[in-house]
């Protein structure tokens, strides 16, 4: 059997899965975005009416704003935390394995369990976070009961689920040539200079990859936390686009509007990624790629 045949056979299940579970539903959703559809009666062509309706809904603008704030908070924090931990834990030291495992563990906790744990951790009166802040004499916010702290809380919870990015950067860091790092040391570079001029540029492709992936991911992964912890509140402060689409579809049987909302979210995410990519290329990133 030729290499090509083997590859085709191996890829077939994934291609079939991608086609049936991703591409076909995505295309159907794309088509539904221009229809009125309540699942019982056939879809009715509405053109751009769904988008006009969404534009008039104050929740939609709020959901876009919340989602963009979440992306702006969560993505840099997640990538920076993964990088810092990967650099700190890349060496072979006693106990480092346990710490690496501890960093990864939150990523395998099911989102529902993680959200419920967050609910307990951030309880404004009885939660350990506020009890600790109180013990230190620091102000203890009401977290999920106030708009600003609630947005920060949902983003902060995402920062602890960085296992995959951490492993990728850990592997990338360990893959750096020891000779290059040794040469930098011989040339008199300190830790900061080595990071700035050697390590970061060499890890740049991975950092860009993780950032782009996180931007795409952040448009959907706040759903469980918002659904279970805040219900989108207080007063829509944590109403993210997927949660609003869920409410429109399953709460109001407005599948056309929900599809339009997800299409708008997809376009926005793609635009953000394109802008980031263009900026990176503008900074000479493509040469380092």
């Amino acid at each position: 059997m030729s290499w090509g045949t083997q590859a085709a056979l191996l890829l077939t299940p994934y291609l079939a899965g991608t086609l049936l579970l991703l591409l076909v539903p995505a295309l159907l959703t794309l088509a539904l975005a221009f229809t009125g559809y309540d699942t019982l009666t056939p879809p009715v062509w509405r053109g751009l009416q769904n988008f006009v309706t969404l534009a008039r809904d104050v929740r939609v603008g709020q959901a876009f704003q919340n989602t963009l704030i979440y992306v702006a908070l969560a993505v840099p924090l997640r990538v920076a935390a993964a990088l810092a931990l990967a650099l700190w834990l890349q060496g072979r030291r006693p106990g480092a394995g346990w710490v690496r495992a501890a960093v990864y563990v939150p990523s395998v906790v099911p989102p529902v369990a993680y959200a419920l744990a967050g609910l307990w951790l951030l309880n404004p009166l009885y939660g350990p976070v506020n009890l600790a802040l109180g013990a230190l004499g620091l102000p203890a916010p009401a977290w999920l009961a106030e708009a600003g702290p609630a947005r920060v809380a949902v983003a902060l919870l995402a920062v602890f689920q960085i296992g995959e990015g951490f492993v990728v950067l850990l592997a990338a860091r360990r893959g750096l040539s020891p000779e290059v790092l040794a040469a930098a040391t011989v040339d008199g570079a300190g830790a900061w200079a080595t990071f700035r001029y050697i390590v970061r540029p060499l890890l740049q492709p991975w950092l860009v990859l993780l950032t782009l992936r996180d931007v795409a991911l952040s448009f959907q992964n706040a759903f469980a936390a918002a659904y279970l912890m805040t219900g989108g509140g207080p007063y829509y402060a944590t109403l993210f686009l997927p949660l609003l689409a869920h409410e429109e579809a399953f709460g109001g049987f407005r599948y056309g509007e929900a599809a339009a909302l997800m299409l708008a979210a997809l376009v926005t995410a793609a635009a953000l990624i394109a802008v980031f990519w263009a900026l990176w290329r503008g900074w000479g990133g493509a040469e380092e790629w």
Binding site: T39, A142, L144, A145, E146
Partner: protein
């Protein structure tokens, strides 16, 4: 406007009767049907096949439904009933919507009357009026009309009411005794209610923080509504053909301000942070709230978990005007059900003289059948609450919101604005105005 006010002031079933009469349907739907004795056989003819039945509820309710299913399968051996149990009510709603969206709902489902129009208007439910009129087990007259007519949609009975619960005041009898308070009288009013709540609100350890609240209540439209009605206010501009919320109506707004003041001015209800830390139901269960507003729904939980003596009282009245809001689920038959005969036989059995007492024994329901509600199955003196009769006494004062397809959306936007007013972020007037503006589109929108 005068006629609108008069119509909105009527109780739910009376308004329906008025509406039906106007449509010339009253004679048909109220045709005298001989009420069979409640010892009638469970079904007139044997049926066969498979039926799926989806419910929500705590373990005690699940056990009751399992008993109902077992009893039905014993009576109808050729029918196999699959019971699908979803523990939480919110998860149940999500599952229900998802199943209907997928075109594969359970054959028999429980749906709240406020949500029935949303399903019925899309043709998702099989009207059950004709089956009920043909039934030898059940008849329309067996049910409390307040529950029965709440399940009508465009002149047809869509679901058969399972219960006729309403909003009441649960109270912690131990905390009342500790505070030296008399138990709530059947005819207490807003002032007595507030004074009681104030007496129960206490800083127990002297640290300046309230440890025990007088009252637990969610800032939601369905909690506020009875107080609007008691004050002579309106929920919407017109019951049968509503076009907007009427929260800015003078009397409605006064009731809203009184409701908001319970938290903002009198501090007898937890503030936003305290409510986030512990919801009202949990706070009451933990003995940290003297009173709590809810329907019959929490009785099984209280029986199971409350470590204190408790009972129920009617909602307070305003200047002698009593009102409460209906809380009722109904057995509904999905239009897609493959075996409607068997599914109806199950509904007839589960909601009949055999099934209703089994479910009522859990404490969860106020049976919609008069004979069951007035029997020991509901009024068991050995079971809490001792004042279960309160639920029956309130039935004549039960009112309902308009039955329109988008009511769930209207409640959602109104609740968001009410919450802001309740926790002091905007004035009651601003919340009422904003709720009215935001809800307007849902009154006009096609389902």
């Amino acid at each position: 406007m005068t006629s609108t006010r008069r119509l909105d002031g009527l109780r739910g079933w009376q308004r329906w009767l008025a509406g039906l009469a106007a449509l010339g349907l009253a004679a048909c739907t109220l045709a005298p049907t001989p009420a069979p004795p409640l010892t009638a056989p469970p079904s007139e003819a044997p049926v066969a096949g498979a039926v799926s039945f989806m419910v929500f509820g705590d373990p005690a309710e699940l056990r009751a439904y399992e008993q109902v299913v077992a009893a039905f399968e014993a009576a109808q051996p050729a029918v196999d009933v699959t019971l699908i149990h979803i523990p939480g009510q919110n998860d149940y709603r999500t599952r229900l919507a998802a199943d209907f969206a997928a075109g594969d709902p359970a054959d028999v489902v429980l749906i709240n009357y406020r949500r029935v129009p949303g399903f019925a208007s899309r043709g998702l439910l099989e009207p059950l009026g004709p089956s009920l009129l043909r039934s030898r087990v059940l008849a329309p007259d067996d049910f409390y009309p307040e529950a029965y007519y709440a399940f009508y949609w465009q002149g047809e009975l869509m679901c058969v009411p399972q219960n006729v619960s309403s909003l009441v005041v649960y109270y912690n009898r131990d905390l009342f005794k500790t505070a030296g308070l008399a138990e709530p009288a059947d005819d207490w009013d807003w002032d007595a209610f507030l004074q009681t709540a104030q007496a129960l609100t206490r800083d127990l350890d002297g640290d300046g923080q309230i440890d025990q609240y007088g009252l637990g209540v969610e800032p939601e439209l369905q909690r506020l509504a009875p107080f609007l009605w008691q004050n002579g206010g309106l929920l919407t501009d017109n019951f049968n053909e509503p076009h907007q919320l009427a929260l800015t109506d003078t009397k409605s707004l006064a009731a809203l301000e009184w409701f908001v003041d319970l938290q903002l001015r009198h501090h007898v209800v937890p503030d936003a942070a305290a409510a986030q830390a512990e919801d009202s139901e949990t706070r009451f269960l933990n003995g940290r709230a003297g009173m709590y507003l809810n329907s019959r729904r929490i009785v099984p939980t209280l029986r199971e978990s409350a470590a204190f003596d408790w009972d129920v009282a009617p909602l307070p009245s305003r200047a002698g005007q009593r009102a409460t809001i209906l809380h009722a689920d109904g057995y509904c038959l999905a239009a897609t059900a493959a075996n409607k005969a068997a599914a109806w036989a199950f509904i007839e059995f589960a909601n009949g003289p055999v099934g209703q007492p089994i479910v009522a024994a859990t404490g969860r329901t106020v049976p919609s059948l008069r004979a069951v509600a007035e029997s020991a199955a509901f009024l068991d003196p050995a079971q809490k609450p001792a004042r279960s009769q309160v639920f029956l006494d309130q039935i004549e004062f039960v009112m309902i919101p308009p039955l329109i397809p988008n009511w769930a959306d209207i409640e959602e936007v109104a609740n968001a604005e009410l919450e802001r007013a309740f926790y002091g972020q905007v004035s009651a007037l601003e919340a009422a105005r904003t709720a009215g503006v935001r809800a307007a589109e849902y009154f006009e929108q096609e389902p």
